[in-house]
Symmetry: C2
Subunit: 208 residues, 2 copies
């Protein structure tokens, strides 16, 4: 074992520990309550170590978001009418979790209709072009997997062969974001089912 490795945790272990602490803080306190200095202290590492890996609070916050997204598995059972609402429900749950992060639910258990940290995170990505680029790459990777689910359903004949998969996925994910960010209406399993049904059946009276 080399001198520099003796007794020191590996980089992957440090990363995992930092992200775990940051995840806990972000979900409990919201974007405004996340402090990289505090994360470093709680994770037992030097601040310089943390900032070398995640140069700003926003880099750290989106590392948490990426990790939470990776935890949401995309299940393909071969039945798109089952798999699609299941996946949309996961996106909805992730948005709801971030919407509520750091907000006092009050006596009723309700945090109100505002978008909470979902809006803070998007504004953070908008402020720093470099972070924005990371976020768009993260979503691009993630959405490629989600679109593959739709493409496989198309290839086995559940969806029509000339389907615009990109537009369809934008509509499904977009509806969830729109409700959380703009209209403040709830997103849940029932809503995921409504979206799936509306998108699959189509709005026109007659197919043409």
């Amino acid at each position: 074992m080399s001198e520099t490795r003796r007794g020191r945790p590996r980089r992957a272990e440090i990363d995992a520990r930092v992200i775990e602490v940051a995840t806990e803080l972000l979900l409990r306190r919201g974007y405004g309550g996340l402090s990289p200095d505090e994360v470093a202290e709680r994770a037992g590492i030097a601040k310089t170590t943390l900032y070398r890996r995640w140069p700003t609070k926003d880099h750290l916050a989106f590392a948490v978001v990426a990790r939470l997204q990776d935890d949401d598995e995309i299940t393909d059972t071969g039945d798109i009418r089952r798999d699609l609402p299941a996946y949309l429900e996961k996106i909805a749950a992730g948005l709801e979790r971030m919407r509520r992060a750091g907000r006092d639910p009050g006596d009723t258990g309700d945090t109100g209709p505002g978008p909470g940290s979902v809006a803070d995170l998007l504004a953070a990505a908008a402020r720093q072009p470099e972070v924005g680029e990371l976020v768009r790459e993260m979503y691009a990777r993630r959405n490629t997997l989600a679109r593959a689910l739709l493409e496989r359903a198309r290839d086995r004949g559940e969806l029509r062969p000339d389907l615009d998969v990109e537009a369809l996925f934008d509509q499904l994910a977009g509806a969830l974001y729109y409700r959380v960010l703009v209209t403040g209406l709830p997103v849940d399993r029932a809503y995921a089912e409504r979206l799936t049904d509306t998108a699959l059946r189509g709005a026109a009276r007659e197919r043409n």
Copy 2:
């Protein structure tokens, strides 16, 4: 004419002048460059008059957004395949305008893929519950008109009778917001046409 009215502009005139100046500043400089004090000065009114009507910068910013939305007429020609992309194109143009507000387009005329002031405005609405409530009411009023367009198309038989109009509208508007805020992909007339076609035809291979 009463003493207090002599020579003074009416409240509606003052409002219109303030909103005009604020619109020009917001679109030219972006959310970060909007200053209520400067708006009051340019409109030639006392700061106290402005703050009595719009207590914070965010109230003023959303008065601008509401005015811009009202300028986007919803045209009903009786053909939903024509009216829907036309209206979606207006939403897209409004988002693009706010996305580019205050950003230097550089030598290429491109401001890059970030959401710009669209994200700033949503974060502002998230910060102040009272402003968030105003914003949700504004969108609720606006979206009622847009959904009426779909409901009339359903009533005259262009759309299916059991259509979930709310889910359909969320999907269409949501896809535009999702691209501007999250994936950074362009929204324009061609994309509005893709959305309309995908939503009207439906994704499923066979109607069921």
